[in-house]
Amino acid sequence: MQVRRKWFQVGRPLPPKLSGVFAVLSFALPVSLWCVVSYVPFVWHPQILITQPGSVDYLQPGMRMDKSAFAAAEAEATEQQKALPKGVPTNPIYLPAPHEVIRAFYTAFTTEPQSRDGSWLHESLWHSIQIIFWGFVISSAIGVPLGILCGAYGPFARMSEPFIEFFRYLPAPAFGALAVAILGIYDGPKIAIIVIGTFFQQVLVIANTTRKLDLTLVEAAMTLGTRNSQVLRRVVLPGILPDLYRDQRILLGWAWTYLIVAELIGASSGITWFITQQARYQQFANVYAAIMMIGIIGVGTDMLLARLGRRLFPWDRSLVKSDA
């Protein structure tokens, strides 16, 4: 027993094989739970899908109703000795089965837009990616330099961090109406919300990362003749680069979480528009497929960036350890 459970201790690393097994389980468990709920008829299935209305005139094939209401209709028909309605247990329409969602992954891309001004799914996705991209780029263009300056120089930190600390508690969507008033109803306010949601965290996170730089490295550089003005570029920047890169990866994930709120502002667009449209037509399989696509794109980019990071920073030990 003790021998077998050696890995189940605080701080013990998992053997690589087990580590892979658990990683698969992390996805397999929720998916199998979903399968059980969807495919095992006596688990949950609170509704009845009508197959034959029988003699009950208000029933139609394909209709869903609660089990209790169906039982009442059945009882009434039995009492009047008329044809019984028939149906199968089913889940509510908002919980499609896994195979329906998987099918939707394909059909969502092949289905034409339902309205004339609508757009294909891939167009919606591409639009969302652009919003994220520009929001993140604009935020980083100011946030990264400011964060580094705050981490490196006291005056910058004292002059901006208290305000930023205050501002980051203001929920970004609260600025939606304001953003629309200033920037119109199209992409402007959406990018603005992502910038507001990302920027303030970014400055603080990067300032902290910069502060964690081993100061003896700066001192060593100074004793080698580095002038004060060169320290930032020659020591601080290369010194924090791997950590900065890691921060940016986390912050990019943050930006994604603001996407849906941002796209609801003004004229709804992108993947959010697709999701709301599909929900309106009760195409919930498509809704799930679209939500999952956001996740897949997010995780996919992050994995790519992690791999790129290992290439870019061969000296970074923590990257090797955390991602290997």
Partner: protein, 304 residues
């Protein structure tokens, strides 16, 4: 064991120098004064109180001298070397290098720290090139010189490795040549071998002496290891603690070239006895504060 040997040769004092040693010291003192520290005080101020860390430190170092600074913990030896490096400012007094007052850090005073301060993002070669490029050497010339320096410490094979791929001793060798590459007047070393294991440490000490012999460099070396101080130094500056004051500047009577066998020579032992006397007599008796451990093992079960 050292104490027993000391009593074996009671007549030899650490002040007695053989003719050869005396001649060496005269030679050394005939060289120019390279570093002059005059009445340096250092006060650390916090909101609550002021702490006097260094008080009236004065000494001079001659060109190509190897000076060690020893003292119990809290004597401010690290503060002193940081002042020499220009990383901290003295509250009063002067530090003169070649007669010029020291102002801020500069490449005329190289420094080796206890924690390996190699830049992790640069290869070994680029680390050595760092100071050269900062000091306006072109990339080709910097690389040529860096490789020569690496050869000096036998690490030319690791030129393209990153610091994390090196052992502690190798890292410190790179740190030494990185500091030497900019051709400083003086090399300041703040417990550079403190984190190394005993064997590596001994080899690094011998190697450092070898470098010092061959290169026109003056070394100020901080350590709390008395054997290390005696083995390496021409003179040893002993500081007392709280505040740090100069207790004595000891001329090490052990003849050069040094070797490990000298650890048992009467000069070595006499010097060490004197250092222990200076450092540990000044300290409050720490041992009385440890309690006597009550016996918990069985009565008959003795290990000694």
């Amino acid at each position: 064991m050292n104490r027993i040997l000391t009593t074996d040769s009671p007549r030899l004092s650490y002040l007695d120098q053989s003719a050869v040693v005396r001649e060496r010291f005269e030679q050394m003192k005939a060289r120019d004064v390279l570093l002059e520290v005059r009445h340096v005080d250092k006060v650390f101020r916090t909101r609550e109180k002021e702490t006097l860390a260094l008080s009236d430190i004065s000494f001079t170092t001659h060109r190509r001298e190897f000076l060690s600074i020893v003292g119990s913990s809290g004597c401010g030896k690290s503060t002193l070397i940081r002042i020499l490096a220009g990383l901290e400012e003295q509250t009063s007094g002067d530090v003169l290098l070649d007669g010029q007052p020291v102002c801020g850090p500069g490449s005329d005073r190289g420094m080796v720290f206890q924690s390996y301060t190699l830049f992790p993002w640069l290869t070994v070669k680029k680390n050595v090139m760092f100071g050269l490029e900062i000091n306006k050497y072109g990339p080709v010339e910097s690389e040529r010189q860096a490789l020569q320096w690496l050869q000096l410490v036998g690490l030319e094979k690791f030129a393209d490795s990153y610091p994390h791929q090196l052992s502690g001793g190798m890292k410190q060798r790179v740190a030494i040549v990185r500091a030497l590459a900019t051709q400083p007047r003086i090399l300041l070393m703040d417990e550079p071998f403190g984190a190394l294991d005993a064997q590596t440490r001994a080899r690094m000490q011998a190697h450092l002496l070898e470098i010092w012999r061959k290169i026109d460099i003056t070394i100020v070396f901080i350590t709390h290891d008395l054997d290390e101080a005696i083995f390496l130094s021409d003179r040893i500056l002993v500081l007392s603690a709280h505040p740090g004051r100069v207790q004595e500047l000891i001329e090490v009577p052990v003849p050069r070239p040094r070797n490990t066998a000298q650890c048992f020579s009467p000069e070595f032992i006499a010097t060490k006895a004197r250092l222990e006397e200076l450092i540990y007599s000044a300290e409050p008796e720490d041992e009385s504060e440890y309690p006597v451990v009550p016996r918990l093992a069985e009565a008959a079960d003795n290990v000694e």
